[in-house]
Symmetry: C2
Subunit: 279 residues, 2 copies
């Protein structure tokens, strides 16, 4: 199986490592508009060869597109223009806008919309790591519009990394992703800004920053090049969740002002039931 | 050196492990008002023997008080009542209220106020782990009111665990702790509640929860028995930070409503400079 990876960043690079390692891909062709990324990817041994986009598509059995979601919307139709019998997948963090972009393409059935739910706060070919996807969830969306054999191939691919496959409507995916991923990032960005702002007057503020702070704010290291397009494409859902989150914080605020610590105790006890989700 | 640990939870238990392991303590005496904790602590081999509070103090060279900060305020003066030449320290997450509670005690100079900045989202003797404190920051507060030899002993103890010692005024400590610890917990509790609330209508919401979500929300598993007293004692500082955090989130909200993604890009870029703090 020849797999072409378009976009040699954290996700594309990590897929390249895993699929080569587990034997699903005999050959990895890497495509990236940035020559520096190609160079880094060669030095990290992420790929067997590089080609331009068109050649990368023509020589592949499977094309994985792993680029920011705004570029995805513009590039995917062009990629499908070159497709004959290849299978093309995206791995984007939004699904509705991406699937809309290819909805009427004559080669729509060669395309499978996916979102492997894995990542780190790092980016670029140097951020690619083995086993990033092991055991994580992967959403497949609107598979009914894809050729069943294409879907089967993609399912087989994700199963080689032990991913848990979940079929979900693009609208549902985007709501759920806003809750379990996008708001976490927004919250981390905001928390980092809040503390960095204070640092202007309190130079020693970070002397005490420990494990709890790092864990909550870790995602604030994530690049805007990836996240701004996600926030833009999922703006409505994210705004809903953000409103709810601000309301919840305002509840704590009211309790703090009123010194109603009984109520705060109850809120924290409720929050504790997140234990049933997070092992 | 005989060390008595009052309160055999995450912090007390972990200190008991480290100080026995590195040889600073020859004997660990464990004191806990809850017999179940004593029993668990024996089974985890956290202590050599147990005594009641008074005997635990009389037989110790050093007494470490590791209980929730509300109990700390009421118990510390009683502990100091029994002190002759022992050194007593607290390890509480607030400093002003705790140091106020012992300020006028005749044995004030036998007491050293400390806050080793380490923890996990778990609690109880079963949560005690080795190496919890290694390389972390530890605040000493108002050491000028303590006997220099007592301070030297406490510094020596924390240095056996490679802790970075920081002297800080209690008021400054409480402001800084609100920024780098207490708000992270409050934010995690709120985020957990926001998503749990959604789960009532969307049973599948957690199917997609991955590493980013876990990391941001991990602290929401923390017990209210520890955190409500901290929030109560640090109410004013926490309220200030919470107001700033809500304002920062509201900035993102305004940008999202206006679809001002250039501004969001700039905010995220600024947040990224947290990289200089978090390795």
């Amino acid at each position: 199986m020849v797999v072409t990876v378009v976009g040699l960043g954290l996700i594309g690079g990590s897929l390249a490592i895993s699929l080569k390692e587990n034997g699903f891909a005999k050959t990895i062709i890497g495509v990236d508009h940035n020559p520096e990324n190609i160079d880094k990817a060669f030095r990290r041994r992420l790929l067997d060869k590089t080609m331009d986009l068109e050649a990368g598509i023509c020589n592949a059995d499977l094309v994985i597109v792993a680029i920011p979601v705004d570029n995805m919307v513009s590039l995917l139709p062009k990629i499908l223009d070159h497709v004959t019998d290849q299978v093309v997948i995206d791995v984007g963090s939004t699904k509705e806008k991406i699937l809309d972009a290819v909805a009427d393409h004559p080669q729509r059935n060669r395309f499978v919309g996916t979102h492997p739910m894995a990542g780190t706060e790092h980016s670029g070919p140097e951020a690619a790591i083995p086993n990033l996807f092991d055991g994580k969830a992967c959403v497949l969306s609107e598979v009914e519009k894809s050729d069943p054999a294409a879907v089967a191939l993609v399912e087989k691919m994700y199963r080689t990394m032990d991913m848990k496959l979940v079929n979900m409507h693009p609208k549902d995916h985007d709501v759920h992703a806003a809750y379990v991923s996008h708001i976490s990032h927004l919250s981390a960005f905001a928390l980092a800004l809040t503390v960095l702002e204070k640092e202007k007057n309190e130079a020693r503020i970070f002397e005490l920053a420990g494990g709890g702070f790092s864990s909550t704010v870790r995602l604030a290291k994530s690049t805007p090049n990836m996240w701004v397009p996600i926030f833009a494409q999922n703006q409505e859902n994210l705004l809903d969740v953000l409103d709810e989150h601000i309301n919840t914080l305002a509840q704590f605020r009211t309790c703090l002002i009123k010194k109603d610590f009984t109520q705060i105790y109850e809120l924290i006890e409720k929050a504790n039931s997140i234990r049933k989700i997070l092992k």
